[in-house]
Symmetry: C4
Subunit: 283 residues, 4 copies
Amino acid sequence: MAHRVDHSPEKTRPRWRQALGDLIFGLETPAARLYDKVLIVLIVASVIAVMLESVSGLSAPMRATLRWTEWAFTLLFTLDYLGRLLGARRPLHYARSFYGLVDLVTILPSYLSLLLPGSQYLLVVRALRLLRMFRVFKLARYTDQANLLGEALTASRERITVFFISVLTLVIVFGTLLYLIEGPENGFTSIPTSIYWAIVTVTTVGYGDISPKTGAGKFLASLAMLLGYAIIAVPTGIVTVGLQEAKEARQGRLCPGCGLGKHDPDATFCKRCGASLPSQSSP
Amino acid sequence: MAHRVDHSPEKTRPRWRQALGDLIFGLETPAARLYDKVLIVLIVASVIAVMLESVSGLSAPMRATLRWTEWAFTLLFTLDYLGRLLGARRPLHYARSFYGLVDLVTILPSYLSLLLPGSQYLLVVRALRLLRMFRVFKLARYTDQANLLGEALTASRERITVFFISVLTLVIVFGTLLYLIEGPENGFTSIPTSIYWAIVTVTTVGYGDISPKTGAGKFLASLAMLLGYAIIAVPTGIVTVGLQEAKEARQGRLCPGCGLGKHDPDATFCKRCGASLPSQSSP
Amino acid sequence: MAHRVDHSPEKTRPRWRQALGDLIFGLETPAARLYDKVLIVLIVASVIAVMLESVSGLSAPMRATLRWTEWAFTLLFTLDYLGRLLGARRPLHYARSFYGLVDLVTILPSYLSLLLPGSQYLLVVRALRLLRMFRVFKLARYTDQANLLGEALTASRERITVFFISVLTLVIVFGTLLYLIEGPENGFTSIPTSIYWAIVTVTTVGYGDISPKTGAGKFLASLAMLLGYAIIAVPTGIVTVGLQEAKEARQGRLCPGCGLGKHDPDATFCKRCGASLPSQSSP
Amino acid sequence: MAHRVDHSPEKTRPRWRQALGDLIFGLETPAARLYDKVLIVLIVASVIAVMLESVSGLSAPMRATLRWTEWAFTLLFTLDYLGRLLGARRPLHYARSFYGLVDLVTILPSYLSLLLPGSQYLLVVRALRLLRMFRVFKLARYTDQANLLGEALTASRERITVFFISVLTLVIVFGTLLYLIEGPENGFTSIPTSIYWAIVTVTTVGYGDISPKTGAGKFLASLAMLLGYAIIAVPTGIVTVGLQEAKEARQGRLCPGCGLGKHDPDATFCKRCGASLPSQSSP
């Protein structure tokens, strides 16, 4: 609805900027799809380049090539950013949106490295480039499914919070107990370290860098493992039920009487006002 | 229902204690919510302080600061406990409740450390402070969701017991087998140690402090891993189905028109025949 | 039905054997429940005794005590076995049943150790004692839930087989690939060892006794991990759906027309013959 | 439907080739089932032989035996392949099908080893033999269940893609962060290596070959573990819901009386209004 309202400012945007916007933001024309596909290839390639740069045993020419590629990517992404600013119906709205900020933040590091030495600390920011992959997935049905997963997680938000508080409590109690039982001589040097061990154990990661040595410690660790093993069932149940809820919420037929949108697939009458519902189209 | 009965003793409680009770136990006034939020910050901060105290490389001033903070927290939690005793409609009922005991138990360690040296053994008790976090979560919709999870686990109680007995049997059988096959020279020094290894393996933790060396041992270990990997599906299925049952049990009103038993919590009319449903008692 | 048929041989069984059978096999009288509870305590205690016997650092008196306890348990379990033979309505039927064989097998090792030296190799058989725990759980609602889980697994039998064949194929392919890439110098000494590594990895156990060293090996191992991580979702989905199916199969109302037993909770007419179904009692 | 069309070329196929085709491709006659069972035993045996050949400590006679067995298997599988070519209704169609190519590819390595030395590099191809196991499972109800699982995964394809992109993003961000925090001196030698560590951690494999040493590294690793632990719930929920969808999609016939769309595969009459349902097309 809200999108139809601002039709009037649309007239003031020149033709070529409209065409540019359709190319970059569009999803339906073949040219727009090609643009998105080229962009995704560039993003993946630039991420691989950033990763390779950190490998120590690289030859000098290889390193020079990577540096040039880096600048080529930066140039292309800068052009993409400018194009989005010019082509957007409301440039400021785009610049302040989540993806607008990501686009800006991912081209800045290269320019900053001209001013500042020690650019390697900007590596983290470069990794953010990958976040753009999600945008590119707007291209297809993927955002729809990403939204469904997001809705399922949102619907389960409170249950997940309760779950995490329970896990944290468990991990703190077990970590403290093993710090007292095993002590610094067996690797449990402090309570935070012991809690780190408890997280490693309860999540079933199990590095083995710290492990209980005494009988009582092993017994308690076994308890923590069995609990962690069973507890993993809880978020699974939560997400499964949340996903079903999110799917059902989408199957919404609207009640002609009161406008309520969430009805069970087998409902014939509105559960709020009792009006007869339209028959359901087959799924 | 039971809450409405004891209206008469209410008259005997003075005004200021009623106001104190509304502040501390209340959930609806802005002041009561602020009180809960401040309390949760204090609880988290005190838990972090207890954890930091165990880190070995702390400087003397840092250690002194922590000790003072500890006493400040103890004082504040003591005031909170006294306030709850005075503000509660039935003080004795609060003092003997689960949270009342937790509140008492979490302020005692500091006072005990004045009498007894070697207070570090009270660390475990201090960790119990975190349990109070659940109480603070009464503040919001979280207890409702915690209750739903609790109902799901309660509904699945017997299945979970059966699951745990099966896992224990499996772990004892595999532990004994590997003790016989690998023997003490490969780290399987006794049956309890071997069972500890089997738990580490079946729960997919896998520290690697003990691992099979012989071919037969590796073959049996592979079997145990595959079983453990598949078995994790069982508690997950149990909790998912239990969560659905708990949700449905909350929806159980019968339609007076057609007898249909499964209605959403927000339904006013039957979705099958359109008859008016009985109003729902609050969950 | 079948149980009512053999009423006539019942007459030939003397009174005291009927009373003995009611005590040992019964589930309803207080005495029968007490018997079951005492038995479960004895079974757990005897398993702990067997486990402790393998611990190396035991003192001589402790070892002697354990030996005496062992004989006491053997005597009690022998009496229980004889009692079951005498009290059973059809002794031969009991002796050849699964639990009858377990009961026999768990008392033999001690007697065999009189004849044979090196009785420690009978330890495995002793561990079978724990299997009896399931029988004791007949005492309560637990067998019912164990049966439901069993039905769920039976209903999912074919899907689980397909899942295991897929996992085995995956594990053999990845094991062989890493044997070729990493080779014996990095711990992948043979294809069976590599497959053992692949099982350790795909099941997310991850001991770390063998791990890839080369870049290509790490890349393939990452793929195997991500696959194993995602694949675990499959048995979970299978068991969840199987558990729901098993539960629904139990909700069975019988069709008065054709006797079909499996109807959906919202069904009004038989799906096979179209006859009207009895209305459902609330769950 | 499509299978009935090419009846006319059938006439040109001689009798004995029809009989051969019924034996090898058939599923219903006792002879055809026996053929399939013998084939599955041969496939499993040949895979075990290939695996044993790589074990280093084998004696010379054992090695010779394995080589002879290998040739016996190759001969039998070659006969099977020729039989399939002759017995197939459309030989070229079989030769170009997935299983036709697998059958060819799994007999070539042995012949190639006559021409080329260093045949051990063909080991991977030999492992493909196991893929044929799926074909053999055509023998029973297993392909039907494999198809159902395949349909569930297909229905969840987009959600699984979204899930994997999220996990990859997470793993790259955490890997880069730990590379910056821990650095090469703690084993995080490059970003690809750090990402390998992040995959090992998030998937809860946890080898322990690389693990964080600094406090900040351990804190971030704990976050990654907890996220990985919770995230595993997502594919599980996806597959469970996908499996239910696939099952329901198989049930989709509309009732001509009341329009209800969800009927069990074995239903003949509508469960709501009792009207006769259209007969179901084979799945």
